[in-house]
Symmetry: C2
Subunit: 568 residues, 2 copies
Amino acid sequence: MKPKFICNIATVAASLSLAVPAVAQDIQHDTEHYILQKQHGERWAAEDSELDQRLAELREANGGKPPNIVYILIDDMGFGEFGMPELNKIRGGRTDALDQLAKEGAAFTHMYAENICTSTRVAMMTGRYAVRTGMELTKVTPPEGVGLNAAEITLPELLSDAGYATHHIGKWHMGDIKEAYPNNQGFDYASFPMHNQVSYSFLTRDAELRSITTSFTPESLEENPYALDKSFRLYDWVTQVEGERNSPVREWGIEPGQRPDEQLYIDVNEKFQQQAIESLRSLAAGDKPFFLNYWPQIPIAILNATPDGDCLNANCGRWANAMTLVDEYIGDILTEIDALGIADNTIVMVMGDNGPMKQEQPDNGYAEWLFRGTKGSALEGGHRVGAFIRWPGVIEPGEIFGDMVFIADLYTTFARIGGNMDGIPTDRVVDGVDQTSLLMNGDTFGRRDYVHLYEVDSLKATVKQNMKIHWPAPGVNPSMAGIYNLFWDPREEHPLKRQGVWSGTAFGRMLAHHNQLKAKFPDWEPARGTPYEDVENIRPETKAMVELWKETYGDARYVITGVDAAGN
Amino acid sequence: MKPKFICNIATVAASLSLAVPAVAQDIQHDTEHYILQKQHGERWAAEDSELDQRLAELREANGGKPPNIVYILIDDMGFGEFGMPELNKIRGGRTDALDQLAKEGAAFTHMYAENICTSTRVAMMTGRYAVRTGMELTKVTPPEGVGLNAAEITLPELLSDAGYATHHIGKWHMGDIKEAYPNNQGFDYASFPMHNQVSYSFLTRDAELRSITTSFTPESLEENPYALDKSFRLYDWVTQVEGERNSPVREWGIEPGQRPDEQLYIDVNEKFQQQAIESLRSLAAGDKPFFLNYWPQIPIAILNATPDGDCLNANCGRWANAMTLVDEYIGDILTEIDALGIADNTIVMVMGDNGPMKQEQPDNGYAEWLFRGTKGSALEGGHRVGAFIRWPGVIEPGEIFGDMVFIADLYTTFARIGGNMDGIPTDRVVDGVDQTSLLMNGDTFGRRDYVHLYEVDSLKATVKQNMKIHWPAPGVNPSMAGIYNLFWDPREEHPLKRQGVWSGTAFGRMLAHHNQLKAKFPDWEPARGTPYEDVENIRPETKAMVELWKETYGDARYVITGVDAAGN
C-alpha cells in the first residue's frame, strides 16, 4: 500500500505547487498539513529525534514500558464549563479534581472536538474526521443497525499491537452492530451501554410521568390509534453489556421484563465507575502498559444523577450537579492511580466531547457562555471543549497550552507515545497530527493552526490561526462570507469588514485543497448489519423487537422494497 | 446629625418590620443591608472585634502605620478581559503583571462596578450609588460646568483625616468646575486631565483625518454654514493640569496655540505613569501612610497607544494592545513597590471601571464575552469587572473571592482599614458595605448578596444572590419580569419559567424597600459652576472658549432665558 500512498502525496503536493517533503511521510494527512510541513518540517524532524530519545529514556526508566494512558471523555463539557476555579465561582460549580488536574498538569485553551458525541468519539478512535468514516450522524434512537466499520484501524488496535492492555468502560455510542462493539474494535475488555444516555432518560416511563417525553412506552403508545408504524419508536432495546475481545457480550444489570428507569441509570453509572476502578487495579497489576478508556455517561442527567437528588454544588442544575459527581469520580480515579503507585508513568487526560446541549438550557445549570453555539453547531461553542492532561515529570505543572489541537490528533499522538506510528494506516486520510512535541516541549510547540468544522457531512466553517470563516451557501464568493477574528470576538458576533476581503480569498484556497483530497479519498460508508448480534443473553422482549425491526428493514440494511437509506 | 440619623434607622426599620439592630450603626445603609444585618449581625460583630485586633497588630508591626493603599482603575476592563491566563490565551492578550497580582493576591469574580466611567469613580470616591450624588450622567464633551459636589465626603478626605498622604494621578472625570477637582476633593496632590480620553482622541484633527470623527476642529467646521450654534462643539478645552490641595492648578504639556493630537495623548499617558512612580517614591519617603489613586487613561486608545503602533501581544486590537502596555505600567509599579521595601504594608488593588465599549467592538480587540451587555448597560456585561488585590500576609496568595462586592464597598472598607469609619457621613445614604472581613478572612466572608443596577437614573436591574431581575416598564407586575439564574445563565439569555414567579414577588419587596428610603433621602444634585476656574495658566484660546460658553449658558448654571437644564 505504501507505494500507492507515495504517489498520492506526490500528486496532491504537485496540485498545491508544493514539493514532496524531503522526508517521505507515510501518513496521508489533510492537505493543509503539508503547507506547515514545508515551512516547519526541518525543525519538526530535529525535535522528533530528540523526542524519540526522551521517550526511549522514559521507557527505560519505567522497566521498558511506555506510559499508561487513562483517557476520560466527559459529555457536553464545553470550554469554560467547569475546571477553571474563577469560572466555577461564576457558575456555582465545583470540580476539585479537574482543578487539581489543571494544577498538576496542563489545561488546553484551543482543544477542538467534533461537535457531537458520536463524531468526537469516532475521531478519537480513528484519527479521522467523522465524516470520512461515514459515522457523522449521531446514533440515538435504538435500534440503528449501523456502526463503526471494522476496516477502521482504531487507537486501541494500534496500542494493542504495541503491547498495551486495553479496556473500555462506559459510553461508546458508535453503533449497535457487532463489528462496532468496542471489544471488537481493539479493546481486550469492554463494558458499555449499547446506545447512549437518551434511552435511559428520555425514553422511559419516568420521563413520561415528568412530561419530558410522551408516548414512548408501549402503554402510552396504545392510546394513539393513528400511530401506524410500530417501528418508529421501538422499545426494549439492549441496555448495557460487557465482553472480552472478539467474543460475544452479555447484557448486565437488567432482567427480562424489567424496564429502564431513573434508578437503573443511577445504578449503571455507579457500576461503570466501579468497573473503571477495578480495571485500573487489574491493569496496573499486569505486566503490560495499559490504555484505559473511560467515558462516563454522567454528567448527562436528564433526570437526577445523584441517588437522592441532593445538590452537590451551588448551581444544582442537573448537568452541573452531575458534573460535580463525575468530578468526584475523576478524583477517585486520580487517588487510585496514586495509590497504585503508577502516577509517574501514567498520562491522565480528561476532556469534553462537544459543547453544551441546546435543549437543556438553562435548567440543567448551563447555557452557551464563552462561545456562541451548542452541540451540533460549527460555531466555536459546538467544538471548543475543556481539556486537561497530566503527565508527571514531562508536562510542567500549571502549564496552559494555547496551541490548536483537534481531537483526531490524540489518535496520532498516543500512537506515537505508545510506540506504534508505523501501525497508522496509510491507505486513507488520517487527519490527526502528532502533537507529542506540544505535550513534551510545551506551549507554542503545537503542529496545527487550522481545523475544518463539519455539521454532519457539510463543511460549515474553517479556522486558520485566529481567523474563522463561516462558509457561505454554494455559489457565494468566500470573500463575501462572514469572517471573524477569534482573538477579538470569540463569540463570532461581529463579522469583519476590511479584514474579511483578503482572508476570504485565502480561505477559498484552503477549501479547494481540502476538496481536492476528498475527490481522491472519498468519505467511507459506515458498516451496516442486524443490531445486537452476539449478545448472548438477549432478553425475549428484545428478541421480539429485533424481529419487528428485521421484518421492516431487512436484516442487513435500511432497504425497504428497493429504497435504501440514501434514497436510491 | 447623629440623633436625626438614629430616627431614620428606626423609622425605616419599622417600615420593614425589622427591629433596630442591637448595636446602633451610625452609617445609613441601603435598606437591604439591614435584612442581612438582622440575620448575621451578631457574627459580624464578633468578627469585627477580632478584625480590629488584627488591624491593630498590623499597625503595630508597621511602626503604627495602617496599610498604604495603591488603587489602580482600568478603563473598560470587564470581567475576563485579561488577567486570567487561560482566557488571555483565547483573546491573544498578555497581562503578566495582572497574572502575577492574581497569583500573589486574590481575584474577585463578583465585583460589580457602576456601568460607566464617571459613575464608578463617583461611587468609589463617595461610597454611594452615583445616582444619589447627581453625578450619574457621564461628562464627555467639554466644557460641562458641572461636577462632584463639595459636600460629598470623599475617600481621600476620610483617609487624610486619618493621617494619610493622598495623591491622585490620571483620569478623574468628575467635572471641570473647581470644587470637583481632585485636589479640592481630598488629595494632597493631583495631576489629571480635565476631561476624559475622548477629547484627546475623537475630537482631534488626527481623528478627522482617519474618518473617526468629522467636523470637530474649527477648520473643518468652517465648511458647514448650517451649524449655527457655535457652542455645540467647543474646541480648545483645558487638557491636563496638576495642583496641590485646595490650591489653583496649572495646565501642563501643552502650549498656547497647540492642538491636542495622538502624540500628545501618548506623551501625557507616559507622563502620568512617571508621575505615579514619582508619587510612589515621594509618598514612601514620607512619614505618613499613603493612598495613591492611579487611574491611567490607557487602555482607552482610540488611535494608537504605543509610540510606534507596534503589537505588544497576539491580539493587537488597539484596546487589547494598550492593555498590555498598561499592564507593563502596573508591573513597573509593583516592581517599584518592592524596590521601595513597602510591599508588606501596601494593599495594591487593580480593577476595571465597567464593561467594554460597545462602539469599538470588535476592532479594538474585544467584544462582549462572558457576559452580555456593554458599558452603560445594566446587563452583567456593563457592571461586572475584573478585579485583583494583593495584601501580603493578609490575603492568601491565589485566593478567589466569589462573594459579591460593589464598588462603593471599597470606600467603606478602605475607610475601615485606614482607621476612619467614624468619618463616614451619617446624614445621607452610604451604600458601601464594610468588606474588610472578606479581605482578611477570605472567600464566603463577604457581607453583600444584592446590588441595584442603574442606567443613568433608572433602576434597570437588581441582583440578589444568583437571581437577577430586569425591571419591567412601570405598571408591569414584577412577577411577569425577566428573571435569570446567573449561575445557570451568566449571559442573561434565558428568562426563567417557573422560578420567576416566586422571585418576582421577592424582588418586588426589595424594590419597595429601596424606594422607601429614597423618599426619605432624595438624590442630590451635582454642583454647577463655571468651567476651569483656578486654572492659573489658562491658554488664551481656552479663555475665549469659556467666554463663549458663559455668554450662552450664563456663568453658573445651564440657564438660558429662564430655562434650566431640568426644563424648568
